[in-house]
């Protein structure tokens, strides 16, 4: 049957690609794209700003509860094997202890369906959760203690003694994992493997070529807010205050684990102290909920920073080969991007580092392949721009290497290979302005002052410039739905189970709703991150702006329909269709004749109604199979490298972006900068050091896992084309992840220009430059 299904899918795909634009969501541009001087694009302060700067925003671990107890977890110290004995007697008799839970007394739980296995699955892994004596990775929770205070719980946890027996089948070295064999990664239902013509042969025949290997290490998201939840049961109903970027997914998955109806789990998460892909469902929420049920008390669980490294997965290790064959004029004959990533036997996240090579450049032939191998480690997961963040490192360094070998300007080489349509799918681009981004950035940065490698010296410092392209696709996942209420007083409430983790979602969506309805921002309430609201909206793939946008467009259409019905024949709007009117100055107006208007107050008073509430679902995201939809950036970096110590300082950075229409200039700039700064970490310092003998992360703290601090970060300049994408809601494409992409390469290329040294392994620490 799968063969038939595949065939059917292929036919559908082809039909969507060939369908007229008007059949496709976004085929008719969102009317908001035409609004030029309103709230869209304005520089607006965050609406939750005053709460956040005064300590009044309530995070997950900040809900006081009567009778609440605190959880502490104990983690395994071997990577694979079994628990022979677990002595909990001292912990049980320690002061304040309410419960010690191990596999011996934990309630029966089903494993979490892992991410991408089902539409609402949110599990980081599908290992049985404290159900047996088996150990699958070094750091797996083996016991949980509940006590009256965190200090008591932490102390009692330290009194538990576990004896293990190591298993012979543990795999903690990449070499051993590779020796066990690899499989092509499967991502979004498709193999991460693509061949167009014979790329190896065309590479061999090309007059110019590079063929090089790059590696990137494991990374951890390390949001400053620790993973935490406050939860309790009322009968078989679970209430959880969490810090999560997938409320609906979490509720569904927990319901599955505890075998209760989905509606019996309520998740809210009004503030998330950073997520970057990590704030999903991991074992701690399940264990805390199980323990709460056993103890009959509300539970607060907050992982220690070490605990985050032990049980919350990060970005996995990659080994990449990039080979490019080019003609004399620089045009690519062959583009090869292949390599290996590590996963675990209990998850499916094949870090898809070939995604940039699928659409960024034209080439006569392609060979793209992500092979996966299995290791016993914390299940790896999505981290900001999964695939692109590390894939652009290999790809964009290799282009720089080729440009250098050919004596060509690396920007010219890139522009030479600008594709006219998507080079691997053949789909037309919805909008693409990377050439403009390069042009604008080149001038602003002063790129043309760049010298030959090693040629610019300032005292003990070598100075150099580098550049790279960043790229990230437009995504919109199925499941968007929104509720819209409009009152006679001219106030509106938008409700959707989406998320605010600092991206500025609530502010941007308030602006959009105000502009769409023709109301001031103060008249809009944006409710989100609550499973009582409609919508299945993952804060991932930079899709929220589009996903919420499309759902609100659908709800708004319905609202206007209702209002026109209520307005009836006595209204100046009589006879107009929903598509022919828009929100303006507290009412509806005909799009073609702005003197034909009626206020919301007048419509609703005449109809003797206090308010109208509608709910609607967004259409399926067919636009993704009809157009090739991608954002790009042109990145410029200047570094100074100390000739005595090898220390690298980033002295200037410019990101020039082409991301469709920008909704809020202030918060978008912060998203770009934040992504770039995480990219500086990826380039120069970040690595979760994995001990291949024991499978243990060796630097599980913020003292030893280095992230960029104030002094590492210069003023970061950002600019954007602001060219709307005619086929997306509001003309926007999402800005959360594009910022980090390409940064690793821009820094590495600048270091090459400064020193003449090519470092192909991240992070570029000073020892690699001595």
């Amino acid at each position: 049957m799968p063969i038939l299904q595949d065939a059917l899918q292929a036919v559908m795909k082809k039909a969507i690609a060939l369908a007229p634009d008007s059949f496709i969501p976004g085929g008719k541009p969102d009317p908001l794209i035409r609004h030029k001087h309103g709230l869209i694009g304005a520089s607006v302060n965050r609406i939750d700003g005053p709460l956040k700067v005064s300590g009044q925003a309530t995070f997950a671990a900040e809900f006081p509860m009567q009778n609440m107890v605190y959880a502490a977890l104990k983690y395994s110290t071997i990577a694979r094997g079994r628990i022979v004995d677990i002595d909990t007697s001292a912990a049980e008799s320690a002061l304040g202890v309410v419960l010690v839970m191990t596999y011996r007394n934990a309630p029966r739980l089903k494993p979490m369906p892992p991410f991408m296995s089902q539409p609402k699955a949110a599990g980081g892994d599908d290992v049985p959760i404290m159900q047996d004596d088996q150990i699958h990775w070094n750091g797996q929770p083996v016991a949980l203690v509940l006590a009256g205070t965190q200090e008591e719980a932490d102390h009692a946890q330290s009194l538990i003694r576990v004896t293990y027996e190591a298993g012979a089948d543990g795999v903690t070295s990449l070499a051993k994992a590779k020796a066990n064999g690899s499989e092509p990664g499967l991502f979004q239902g498709e193999p991460l493997k693509l061949e167009i013509k014979d790329a190896e042969a065309m590479l061999a025949a090309a007059p110019h070529k590079v063929d090089v290997r790059y590696t990137t290490p494991r990374h951890n998201h390390n949001p400053i807010e620790l993973h935490a939840a406050t939860l309790y049961w009322e009968g078989d109903r679970l209430r959880i205050h969490d810090t999560v970027q997938a409320v609906a997914h979490e509720a569904w998955t927990l319901a599955h684990v505890f075998d209760i109806p989905e509606e019996h789990v309520r998740v809210t998460s009004p503030y998330v102290g950073g997520g970057f892909g990590s704030k999903t469902l991991w074992q701690h929420q399940v264990l805390a909920a199980a323990a709460s049920r056993l103890a009959g008390r509300p539970v607060r669980v907050m992982l220690s920073r070490e605990g985050v490294f032990r049980i919350v997965g990060g970005r996995t290790i990659t080994e990449q080969r990039v080979a490019i064959g080019a003609q004399e004029d620089g045009s690519f004959d062959a583009l090869i991007h292949t390599g290996t990533v590590a996963m675990t036997p209990h998850n499916n996240m094949p870090e898809p580092f070939i995604l940039p090579a699928r659409s960024a450049y034209a080439s006569k032939s392609f060979l793209l392949d992500v092979e996966t191998v299995k290791m016993n480690m914390t299940a790896n997961t999505f981290m900001r721009a999964p695939g692109e963040a590390v894939g652009t490192f290999g790809l964009e360094c290799a282009i720089d290497e080729l440009a250098h070998a050919m004596g060509m300007d690396p920007i010219e080489l890139r522009l030479k290979n600008e594709p006219e349509k998507d080079p691997t799918t053949g789909l037309p681009f919805s909008q693409r302005g990377v050439d403009q981004a390069w042009k604008d950035g080149r001038e602003r940065f002063g790129w043309d002052k760049r010298k030959a490698p090693g040629a610019l010296r300032d005292g003990d410092w070598l100075v150099g410039m580098g550049c790279a392209t960043g790229t990230y696709p437009y995504y919109r996942m199925p499941g968007g739905a929104a509720r819209l209420t409009l009152s006679r007083e001219g106030r509106a409430t938008v409700g959707i189970a989406a998320h605010e983790m600092g991206m500025g979602t609530s502010t941007a969506q308030t602006q959009i709703a105000a502009e769409r309805l023709g109301l001031p921002m103060e008249a809009i309430t944006f409710n989100y991150a609550d499973t009582d609201l409609p919508g299945i909206v993952l804060a991932g793939g930079s899709q929220q702006t589009a996903a919420i946008g499309a759902a609100v467009i659908a709800a708004h259409h319905k609202l206007v329909e209702e209002l026109l019905k209520l307005a009836g024949n006595d209204s100046p709007l009589a006879g107009l269709k929903p598509d022919e009117v828009g929100g303006l100055d507290g009412g509806l107006c005909a799009l073609e004749d702005e003197s034909r208007c009626e206020s919301y107050a007048s419509i609703l008073s005449r109809a003797q109604q206090d308010k109208v509430t509608v709910e609607a679902e967004a259409p399926m995201p067919l636009e993704l199979q009809h157009w090739s939809m991608h954002s790009h950036s042109a990145l410029f970096c200047e570094v100074r490298v100390n000739t005595v110590t090898g220390e690298v300082r980033v002295s200037r950075f410019l990101g020039s972006f082409d991301c469709g229409r920008i909704i809020n200039a202030k918060t978008a700039a912060s998203q770009f900068r934040g992504g770039i700064i995480m990219g500086l970490g990826l380039a120069l310092m970040e690595e979760s050091q994995f001990d291949e003998r024991t499978g243990r992360i060796m630097n599980p703290s913020l003292a030893e896992y280095h992230v960029p601090v104030h002094l590492d970060v210069p003023e970061i300049d950002v600019m954007w084309t602001d060219e709307p994408d005619p086929h997306t809601p509001m003309g926007a494409r999402g800005v959360g992840e594009i910022g980090i992409t390409g940064v690793g390469a821009a820094v590495a290329n600048a270091i090459f220009n400064a020193t003449g040294k090519r470092v192909r392994d991240l992070p570029i620490t000073l020892d690699r430059l001595l």
Binding site: Q150, E151, E225, S670, L702, V707, L711
Partner: protein, 176 residues
């Protein structure tokens, strides 16, 4: 035990192992000070004690009896924000907001260290009587406050605007 927090007095007994951070958060329900590591590495828990910035996660609460403790809640509230809090909003000196209370308290402590002549790693003359709030001094001295969202540029701008030369200059010209 007696504590002075944000201008008020509290009498409370607790497990002597409790950190000042846990006392503030779990017992006094002042959730402005944040826990990001509980080991002195992130600065999210920064509070002011007698005007000096400390990592409250590394402080045993019992040692701070009778001292003047100020958390971000004591600086200003929505509607009546401290000028630095308002500048953070204006310059978008945060995204998720989790490191923010620590950044704000730390900045206030840092500015008084400059005035008192406490030198830093980037100070050219360690014996100077006071230090300017220049870009390098500011960033070096704030480097104990991590922001994973990467709001550093906005934080620097907010601090400069509130306490920097530019501010002092503009106040002078307004007065004149």
């Amino acid at each position: 035990m007696q504590f002075f927090v944000n201008g008020g007095e509290v009498d409370i007994d607790f497990d002597p192992r409790t950190s000042l951070l846990d006392l503030l958060r779990e017992r006094l329900h002042l959730f402005g000070p944040k826990k990001g590591c509980n080991q002195g590495a992130c600065g999210a828990c920064t509070v002011l004690v007698d005007g000096v910035r400390i990592n409250s996660c590394l402080a045993l609460a019992v040692q701070y009896q009778g001292r003047e403790i100020v958390t971000v809640e004591g600086l200003g509230v929505p509607g009546a924000l401290h000028p630095l809090q308002a500048a953070f909003v204006e310059h978008d000196g945060f995204q998720c907001g989790y490191c923010t209370p620590g950044q704000i308290c730390s900045a206030i402590g840092m500015v008084s260290e400059l005035k008192q002549g406490v030198p830093s790693h980037v100070s050219a003359d360690v014996a100077a009587e006071s230090f300017p709030l220049d870009h390098d001094e500011l960033r070096e001295r704030m480097s104990g406050n991590l922001c994973r969202c990467g709001a550093y540029n906005g934080i620097v701008d907010a601090i400069q605007e509130t306490f920097g030369e530019a501010k002092a200059e503009s106040e002078k010209s307004e007065a004149a």
